[in-house]
Amino acid sequence: MTTTASTQAPKQKSDVILHYLRPGKKFPNVWCPGCGIGIVMGAFIRMVDKLGYDRDNVVMVSGIGCSSRMPVYMDFNSLHTTHGRALAFATGVKFAKPNMKVVVITGDGDALAIGGNHFIHACRRNIDITTILINNNIYGMTGGQGSPTTPSGANSTTTPFGNAEKHFDPCDLATAAGATYVARSSVYHVPQLEKVISNALEHKGFSLVEAISNCHTYFGRLNRKGDAVSMINSFKENAVPVGKYQKMSDEEKVGKFSIGLLSETEKTEFCDEYQKVVDAHRNDGK
């Protein structure tokens, strides 16, 4: 883990992003021009700044993937871990340091394939971690293989004749597994994306923000979805506010996805509950 010096955020709006980056050392980044991951990073930084968090108190944890490289570029405490298991590492950090703001950045393959087990258990515990899952429907970093969110029938380098598998809805999964704040937005809907990231950060318990993003380099190319701009425009066309989405028929829902706050519940948080156990039984060897 690296610790950063605490400094005051600049007043100039345009300097905000730069203030939170690790310039020089870590740039240029690995992302393709036009990749949506950078949009999510911008939204995240603006919200952390707006909420006035002390960045020494923020821990960014990620696994492996294009999405998971995000914490490398931002100047918070950061922990870059194994593919799929960021949430297990994050649970360790949060449990050891319950007062820290722990944020996990993950991709669809990272969170839902190799990390699927850790994902559902973090939801189940309702541990106070915010997870931002950047869903680009494919494995970007390794060159375009199918992921658990590659739509049935879609092409990837490991589903060259169309995906024969069913795909996950990460938000449904998280809600069912016990997450207490679940929202979805896209890299087109930046103001909304910022709002749900901000609310997720402020939520006590396990919160998930699914950010629909473009991997035009692989998903776009293999599925004839055009360049970054046309993919991002397609999110504008296919995103439906959740209230409206719920009233749509199954046929109308094909190719569409809901955005907004999908579920929010109040449940006791894991670190708090464990503290109660300690408080009730602690005797310090007496």
Binding site: I64, T82, A113, I114, T142, Q145, T158, T159, F161
Partner: protein, 357 residues
């Protein structure tokens, strides 16, 4: 069959098909993902099974499941992925299941890097999982040899009912070379299924397991496995000699593509009047210990040099093989940096100063 130009990873994939391995499970990881991508296209064409698992842990167990049915099955991965398969590899060895696992190694430990390395020697040869077991481990140095060993691996896996691992550094997977495939056996003999879980209709059920709670039974199983490993040591030692002659003063021991680089160094050293040869182990388990000892103790040999893309792993086996009869020195680079012929040459010239009175 005519020669075709192929990338190592794709040639390995095609070789498995020629060996009748129609069941492939995988998880993407650089630098072997091309095997998965090749198989995703080819398996449906041959009516075989291609499945990208949700992780290498899943893949290891998918292989167990498919192997238990008596079918030829394999997977490919790279170092961190192979680490995740160790549990199932141990279980397959314990349950005596044949399968082939290919590790296109990258630098480690941990996430390491994605460039070629040979740093998983211990993991492959000494047992990366728990328990008293061994893998039969083969290491090709050319794409053609990768094809040949891949086909052989399936036969050896069946012969011993044991997992076989083929390890190649990232270069083997990524480089393109002309290869020739043996013609597909027109009438491949079906693998021996006398032990497999094929449905217990009209016969007693067969039980495939590695669990033996009775210590006597577990010990029995462990000695049974041990006997197989001893048999491998007798029957499956493979190696190649390059310019090994009675007058040689030095001998390099090196495997995989590293050995090819050493050949270049040896050619150049020869021109400079240094008498030197190469011992290239092809089977890493069983290790050609007796043969190395025999060559090392030839009258004129002054010292051995092991060259590896690691921080001296195989060297321990070479030291054990020569049992103190000759000095063994080491030269290696790691982290994805490959020793150059010049570096190897320099090391040998240095050794010449030390050992030639």
């Amino acid at each position: 069959m005519a020669k075709v130009l192929m990338k190592g990873n794709e040639a390995i994939a095609e070789a498995a098909l020629r060996a009748g391995a129609n069941n492939y499970f995988c998880y993407p990881i650089t630098p072997q993902t091309e095997v998965a991508e090749y198989m995703a296209k080819r398996m449906p064409e041959v009516g075989g099974v291609f499945l990208q698992g949700e992780s290498e842990v899943a893949v290891g167990n998918m292989i167990f499941g498919a192997a238990a049915t008596g079918k030829r099955v394999f997977t490919t991965s790279s170092s961190p992925g192979i680490s995740l398969m160790q549990e199932s590899i141990s279980y397959m060895a314990g349950a005596q299941l044949p399968c082939v696992i290919v590790n296109i190694m990258r630098g480690g430990p941990g996430l390491g890097g994605i460039l070629p390395a040979q740093s998983d020697y211990f993991q492959a040869v000494k047992g990366g999982g728990h328990g008293d077991y061994r893998l039969l481990v083969l290491a090709p140095s050319t794409v053609q040899e990768a094809v040949d060993l891949m086909i052989l691996s399936f036969d050896l896996a069946d012969k011993y009912r044991n997992p076989v691992m083929m390890i190649g550094d990232g270069m083997i997977g990524q480089m393109m070379e002309a290869v020739e495939f043996p013609d597909k056996d027109a009438d491949p003999k079906p693998p021996d299924e006398s032990w497999a879980a094929t449905g217990a209709k009209d016969r007693k059920p067969r039980i495939i397991k590695s669990l033996f709670l009775d210590p006597v039974k577990l010990e029995e199983n462990s000695w049974l496995l041990h006997e197989k490993y001893e048999r491998m040591k007798k029957e499956e030692v493979r190696f190649e000699l390059y310019k090994v002659k009675p007058e040689n003063e030095f001998m390099i021991v090196s495997y995989g593509t590293m050995a090819r680089i050493c050949q270049t160094a040896i050619d150049e050293l020869e021109e400079e009047g240094v008498s030197i040869g190469l011992f290239r182990p092809i089977s890493l388990f069983p290790f050609p210990s007796t043969q190395i000892l025999e060559e090392a103790t030839k009258e004129n040999v002054k010292a051995l040099l092991t060259v590896e893309m690691s921080t001296a792993q195989m060297m321990e086996d070479v030291v054990m093989a020569v049992v103190g009869n000759r000095p063994v020195e080491f030269y290696g680079r790691c982290g994805g940096i490959v020793p150059t012929p010049e570096e190897v040459k320099e090391k040998i010239l240095e050794m010449q100063k030390t050992y030639s009175k």
